[in-house]
Amino acid sequence: MGTLFHLYVHDEDGIGGQYLRSIVHFYLGEEPLGLDDRTFAVVFVSLFMQVTGILQLPAFYGPSFSPYTSLYEALASVTKKQEVFDDDLVKKDRSISAPKVTMASTNGGSNGVVAAEPATETAAKKKRNRKKNSKAKTS
């Protein structure tokens, strides 16, 4: 409301104030509701604050009511659900093809550097080791 009033009344040369006044004059005429620009802005700001103030009473919507954030929160809840859905997809992808992370330091590496090793490779190594072991036992 403060921004609206300030631009509408005080911004004589700037494009913001000119745009606002041109829109209001276009829809409501040169003297909107028979009032000059300043009085119209004061009436509009006051009326808006009256309505929101009454709606913020505990008997109505309560002090947390805001005509601005109610819209945003409605959309934010939708985007939040989408984010959760995306997170689930990412988790599934990771479980399918995520590389297995092993500490290189435990295998003789230095400085605790983390080395990525594909999970499929370790499985193949295990198979090879098993085969070698079984061959050695049979021989």
Binding site: H10, D11, Y19, S22, V42, S46, Q50, Y68, Y72, A76
Partner: protein
Amino acid sequence: MIFPLLVQYLTGNYYKSAEWQAFGMAFQGALALRNGRNKDLTMSSFHAFALSTVIAFGGGWMGFIWLGKPTSMITGGDVTWPVLIFSFMLSHCTPSDIGCKLGNFLPVTMAVTSLAQLFRSLGMIKFITTAFMELKDNPSPYYPTPIIGPVLYGTMLGNMGSFMVKGFDGHLEKGMPWPFQNGTYIYLFLFECAPICTVVLSLNYHHSPLYIYLLLPFHVQFKSNQYNTQH
């Protein structure tokens, strides 16, 4: 018939307008204290009274200091202080608590809220105008009118009381307080930018004013060009 009366009321042009508005603010602040922290009347009287003045007129206490002017609690003290004392007595010191019960009666609450809201809206306009008069001869090189400074000054009016009572974190930790929203949101919301605002703000509405001011010049330029080509 009704419209001229409505305009008179909303612009504060009626008999003893300033006194009625100050009473609305003072009684609302005293009632907020009486229904909240001092519900059981455990606070000392002077502590409770001083707190009610801060809850009701936090902006009046601190606002004008930002521009190096005497606060309205001093310049308008002859109206404000008697009204504050009367409101405190009415909400805290009446027999059978009748003043508090009357204040919590819905029609009376609505009338007091209406007067207080009128005080807030006209106060915000007065603060913005005062700051603009101070700054209008020194605009930034980027825009011919000082915009953010006066709006910030007017917006802080409604936040001073909460900052003083709750502290910085206490006032802001639950997201953007209503007085901040009211000072900064409306322009784009009203003028055909609601879809853009909604999408951008839904990403993280705690940071929304920044996005609004980033979007504002582009949107205004676009709409102005559109309007000029149509006419």
